[in-house]
Amino acid sequence: MSTKAAEVRKRMAKARSERFREAREILDEVWRSLMGKTGLILIVFLVIVSIYALVSMPPNIVKLWNDPKAWEDNPSVVPPTWVSYFGTPVAPHVAKVLKPSQQGVYSSAMIENAVPVAGFVQVFSLDYRLDAKAFPQDIIAKIVDASANPVGGVQPIVTVYMIVKRPDGLVVMVNSPAPQPLKDIIAAGVIRLDPAQTAASLAAAFNISLTEAQAQPIRLLFGKLVGNRVEPLLGTYKIDLILMYGGVDPHSMEQAVKQGTSGIQSVKMIVKGSAYGLMGTDYVGHDLWLGLLFGFPAALAVGFFGAVTAALIGMIMGVISGYYGGWVDELIQRTVDVLGNIPLLPILVLIGVIVQEWNISPWARLFIIIGVLVLVSWGGLTIIVRSMVLSIKSEPYIEAAKAVGASNTRIMFRHIVPQILPYVFANLVFSVPAAILTEAGLSILGIRHGLPTWGAILSDAEAYVRSGGSYAVWWWILPPGILIGITSVAFVFLGLALETVVEPRLRRR
């Protein structure tokens, strides 16, 4: 190896370390200001949460989110469970997978003094303790493990009874039992409480009119009448799901169930509580914790994609415009002028409305919208970069580079771009929130890309309130807005700190 090559390499390394040192200096200065520190800490926090979200969330979360069936186990529009620590009574949410607590062949018997049964019978039983003065929302049972094979060549017919035994001893039939083929029950997958039947059972028990009972069957089921009001009845409720198999020989049916060739093996019984999870639920029953978590990587992706592409286009156009001058400069500056006059938001809304009809992936839809935002908004940076390039261009070392025959591209990217990079970076940081806020704003207008971003969650909340829902759904409105705010503030703070560090440096040049 010749000493000359080594010398050149050494010098290049030195130049590189020089540039690195400058970046470190800027970072140090930013860290010393309160705003810069706050911004950086917040951004690190956002990135960590995003990584956690990407690792911990189910990979098909987007598809899952858009499938209402996936969320029917959850109560709808309830606050987080931790409201109980602030004194709000909470009816617990209970979901348990149950094996039959009792099964066998009965000739003629009464189960729970309520249902006369005969034949092969299964009972799934759940104890539900209500300690706080609040009402659960609903009861459903989902079939977890079952097979619908014929027994002795015949399809079994099943009658399902759902019965609630209250702490005061009252036994209430809450569905309307009708014999159905086993395969239909398994295909439906869900056994629901029937509000009409519940109301009918309770009207008789409470000696009130049917219409009164129909107004609030679930509350009556878990309550008692105090004057005209319904108050929660505390204690342990026993919820039974009784399956009576008919149409086949009871003993062969018993055999088939024991061998697992036919019949229902296990059931998930759910009493929907009056609070759920860490962040509550929305109208569909979405676990908002998951949606809010998804919002972190989504917001950062939108912000970075928008800001980085806009900064790249803006910088390159500005450098070209300033460096070449002449008609190229004129063309770029006039284009910027036209773009600056476009009414941005209406055009974005229009594009959003058009794109939401297209049959493409939600991410593609989102990035087309942000892409249009980028296409319209790179102009501001271009004007500033151009003016900087104009002054850098006349420096002697650029002349020198030209004289030794450096190509235009080399001069632009090796000698000019590194000098304006700090400013471009400050500008980039500033425009991250713009992209995030635009996405959220378009979502609130009801433009659907299909991703559970913070904006989309907020927009669902707004639509819910608009269509007559209660305005008191704070857990649905506040967290997404606050998260949008925190994310934006982090970048605005960092941008402000960077700007105060970078600007005087530029002036010194």
Partner: protein, 359 residues
């Protein structure tokens, strides 16, 4: 010298006109080439044919005959709506007619609902009816911001680095980060539904504005009642940006020698601010004020939608979602025109207010 100024202004005018035409072509292209307008028209034709078929069935016309009549009607409708022509022959002429201020007629009921009138309704009438509502909310809010910022920002600029200065920057950062429409949502919840001291239905502004000529006293009180919350929210949301922007401009001059001299002479602060600071920075300040006012005319789509305020933003939104091409093109034309006129006015004003500006 004057001749040169005039020719520069003329060139500017020509260019801004070209920009306006380009933006209209671009808009027409987005509406037409994406198939958006075609899809909407097909839906309209579909519902019309459905109604037509039902009316025929009620007259007991044989099925084969109905099929023929419906097909015939379909061809007629395709002709009427111009679906047999490409978008360049359907949407583009609409944009060019708009340039001559021939804006055509509102197509959709949703748009007429925002205006508060029945169809048929000309786009020009729709925009003129809705415009005062946006002015009452947004232009007023921008004016309030401008008044406060012009008063306070120079004083803040004096005290660069002080606690006041820092808190103003922090305030600007926060309001820059929190969307105004979100503040609006929270404000409606808090003051409208919880405390019940603000309205929850803002459409009533239509009534007060309509009554303004016949009964100005009551209408004024009504307007105050309906608009105090949205105006306050918008002012809170925008003021930070205003203060920060004007402070940044003022900082460049507050440390100039002549300002120190003026202060040393013992002139009251008010006069120093007015004569020695504001007058010098009048150019950039005018830019901010005039462009903000011109921009407010176009309405804030999202904020108006959150308040359900029937202004320009809501009109935009209704036009876009219902696929009302004439209204949309009319709106984009008018808002762009106002903005471009404002920019041209600025070019003239620069020359008038600043004797240093000569081309």
């Amino acid at each position: 010298m004057a001749g040169r100024t005039a020719s520069v202004l003329a060139r500017r005018a020509v260019f801004l006109t070209i920009a306006l035409i380009l933006i209209m072509i671009l808009t027409a292209a987005i509406i037409g080439a994406s198939g958006y307008d075609e899809k909407v028209i097909r839906a309209i034709i579909g519902t019309e044919l459905q109604a037509y078929r039902q009316s025929l069935q009620r007259q007991n016309i044989p099925a084969t005959e109905i099929q023929k009549l419906v097909e015939q009607r379909k061809q007629e409708l395709i002709e009427i709506y111009g679906l047999n022509k490409p978008w360049t022959a359907r949407v583009l002429p609409m944009a060019f007619r708009a340039l001559k201020l021939d804006l055509g007629y509102v197509k959709s009921r949703a748009v007429a609902d925002v205006v508060g009138k029945q169809l048929p309704l000309s786009v020009k009438d729709a925009i003129l009816t809705v415009l005062p509502r946006t002015i009452v909310m947004l232009t007023v809010a921008e004016l309030i911001c401008a008044a406060i910022a012009l008063r306070l920002a120079p004083l803040i600029a004096y005290k660069r680095g002080s606690l006041l200065d820092k808190s103003v920057i922090a305030y600007a950062a926060f309001t820059n980060a929190l969307p105004i429409w979100w503040l609006g949502l929270i404000a409606i919840f808090l003051f409208g539904y919880e405390l019940r001291i603000a309205p929850t239905d803002y459409r009533i502004v239509i009534k007060y504005i309509n009554e303004f000529t016949s009964n100005p006293g009551d209408a004024m009180i009504g307007l105050l009642k309906v608009s105090w919350l949205p105006v306050t929210v918008v002012v809170i949301g925008l003021l930070g940006g205003w203060l920060y922007g004007i402070r940044a401009i003022a900082i460049r001059v507050v440390n100039e020698d002549y300002v120190y001299v003026a202060k040393a002479k013992g002139l009251p602060e008010e006069i120093v601010v007015k004569r020695y600071i504001l007058r010098v920075i009048l150019g950039p300040v005018l830019t901010i004020v005039i462009l903000a006012l011109a921009g407010s005319i176009g309405g804030f789509i999202i904020t108006e939608s959150v308040f359900d305020w029937p202004g320009m933003g809501s009109l935009y939104y209704a036009a876009i979602t219902s696929g009302d091409a004439p209204t949309l093109i009319g709106l984009i034309y008018i808002t762009t025109l106002v903005y471009i006129l404002a920019r041209f006015t600025l070019e003239v004003l620069y020359i008038l207010v600043d004797p240093r500006v000569r081309y």
